[in-house]
Symmetry: C2
DNA sequence: AGTCCGCGAGAGAGCGCTCTCTCACCCTCT
DNA sequence: AGAGGGTGAGAGAGCGCTCTCTCGCGGACT
């Protein structure tokens, strides 16, 4: 009731600043700052006094003040760029989770952190760009999974340091990491060929996705090299349902099928279901290979043989590339392509 | 070769500041600031001039400067606290992904963002706490999945605003959101009872996890209420393999089993495999229910009946609670419990 | 017509830190 | 022994913004 705010009377314990540390330790603010930031050229005795002072007054540096003058925040924007309206649900996909894990782990070794942005609308894209432009982050990592994403170009034109996950669809002079999708598909083709499959089909992904295209053409070329000039093709949209539909259609067209390569595991799971429903045994009647080495691939019976991509390593490298660019703004753009690996399980 | 850095000669286009905007618009810096921050009490004419000035000189506010004086960053630390050494791989679990999605979506409506921290070692825990104490974030969201996590207490004792996902294992005066795990288990029990199951088992999670305990006791109590006083219990560790092992053991102990509740979907998938290997038909011989409504639950044959938790909504609410706490530091701690839902599919 | 009130605008004081520049000192080399 | 170089410490100038305080003006009320 009668709580009086007497500004003059309350000494008001401020949070201690570097100035206080300096006074307590009997050194200048500059020296205190050097100790706090781990610079080497400080006398051991003084360093000790500063450290004691920090402990005794409970000093905690202020990040905003440091960022204001150093123009570095130690933060990287991790922009997940789904197609418009894909909202937060995209994160349910372990694909994003694994990338986040790779990025965060890499950053934390350098005492840095990531802030996660969702760019699934024009406004969200602008916000993501603005974050970096306002100095809320030092640079950006763009993970875009759909074709013709305007985001990479926006960052490029704004002169904001950025590295992409996956090759930009219209090519752009900007660094990126990607998987050799065609090699992955070739791995699948090799496997199928080695098993003696001669009537082969593939369930491809959306035609506008570079990764999907590479997986398709890579598979076709590799099968051709194995003496199988024609490959049945059905399209899916990376969901299990679409895989099931595609497989059913394929079975109608080519009942004598003995090998199938699905452009991702989810479609492979759907295909497996269609195959089993049609009374085909996998892998005895039909060999089946997926792509991604996702969790579902390990849970089916038979377990899926699939192509794995080193997402964490790719994410870590992407992060390093951004950090290199941050350290040297003259660093030229560079692609970095990773090799996929065949994971042999039971379905092929 | 002879590129000379003449500091004195280059006018060096600085990035424009609020001062520049004010000058250009012919107003004071304070007024420009008001317009930038969308304050209402500004004359319409002046506002327009300021907006024009911003556009014409390409002004972008500086986040660090604003944070320095306002003591708000608009950032929330999202701390994923796995058990020590669980590293980045934890993110592969869609559980984290969905939470991240819920948090990020909620924050962005308020023009805020989240920075993801991984707290799986003593150092990482300190770093996470330090981030907030240094003003790198306004508060913290702690998602901890293992018992006796020291993190909540650390934040509480440091006086750092924080809200938890899941009830802290030794109880603490701190806000949290959680699922009524016992109710979820009861939903499963009801379903099994309704199908006429009389010889029932459950595959429980790790005994030290509060959520696992609640699911077990909730199931036992509900079955008892349905006139089934004894429930066979096997332990798993939330992996498919452990579920398969547990199911095999259960089948040996109680071959006449007709209903099984697994404490999560992954274990249910493993159980399904064991059941099918043992020649039992699901759901005809044995009804099976999982928990989580994760992706694998939708991919098995038969598809899993399971209990779903509204993770995104819980994450969003957790975020709101933190924001409320940030707006009113006197806000008392409060738990918020969400209701699980039975998802009827094919396995029960 | 005079006074009071309310509201919009400007002035200015920092927020806490980094970093360059300068200086003092000591050691080494000639 | 003197000059030069290297190293560590201090001084001080901001970084760009927010926010309180003050002031001036116009309308309403007496």
């Amino acid at each position: 009731m009668s709580q009086i705010r007497s500004g003059a009377m309350t000494p008001a314990r401020r949070t201690p600043t570097l100035e206080d540390v300096a006074r307590e330790a009997g050194v200048s603010r500059a020296t205190a700052s050097r100790v706090v930031n781990g610079q080497e050229n400080v006398d051991a005795g003084l360093r000790l006094r500063v450290i004691d002072a920090i402990a005794s007054i409970g000093y905690v540096p202020n990040a905003a003040a440091a960022a204001l003058v150093s123009r570095r925040t130690g933060t990287v924007a991790l922009v997940m760029s789904g197609s418009d309206g894909s909202a937060g649900q995209a994160f349910a996909d372990p694909f994003f989770g694994r990338i986040i894990g790779g990025v965060v782990t890499c950053l934390r070794d350098r005492s840095m952190r990531a802030t996660v942005q969702l760019a699934d609308s024009a406004k969200a894209r602008n916000d993501a760009l603005d974050l970096v432009r306002r100095g809320g982050a030092d640079g950006a990592l763009l993970v875009s999974t759909h074709a013709n994403d305007p985001l990479p170009r926006m960052f490029l034109e704004a002169g904001v340091p950025a590295v992409l996950f996956a090759r930009p669809s219209p090519r752009l002079p900007i660094s990126y990491v990607d998987l050799a999708h065609d090699q992955g598909a070739a791995l699948a083709a090799d496997r199928l060929a080695a098993r003696g499959c001669r009537t082969v089909a593939t369930i491809a992904g959306p035609a506008e996705l570079p990764a999907a295209i590479d997986r398709l053409t890579g598979f076709e070329h590799a099968m051709e090299a194995h003496g199988v000039p024609y490959v049945h093709v059905a399209r899916g949209n990376f969901t299990a349902e679409s895989g099931e539909r595609a497989m059913t259609a394929l079975l109608a067209t080519a009942p004598d099928l003995d090998g199938v390569f699905a452009a991702n595991d989810l479609m492979a799971v759907g295909a497996l279901r269609a195959l089993q429903l049609a009374g085909r045994s996998v892998p005895d009647d039909v060999a089946l290979i997926g792509f991604d080495d996702s969790q579902p691939a390990q849970l089916t019976s038979p377990r899926l043989t699939t192509i794995s991509q080193p997402l964490e390593a790719m994410a870590a490298r992407m992060t390093e590339m951004l950090l290199e660019r941050l350290a040297d703004s003259a660093k030229p753009p560079e692609p970095q392509i990773f090799r996929p690996v065949l994971v042999e399980r039971e379905s092929a």
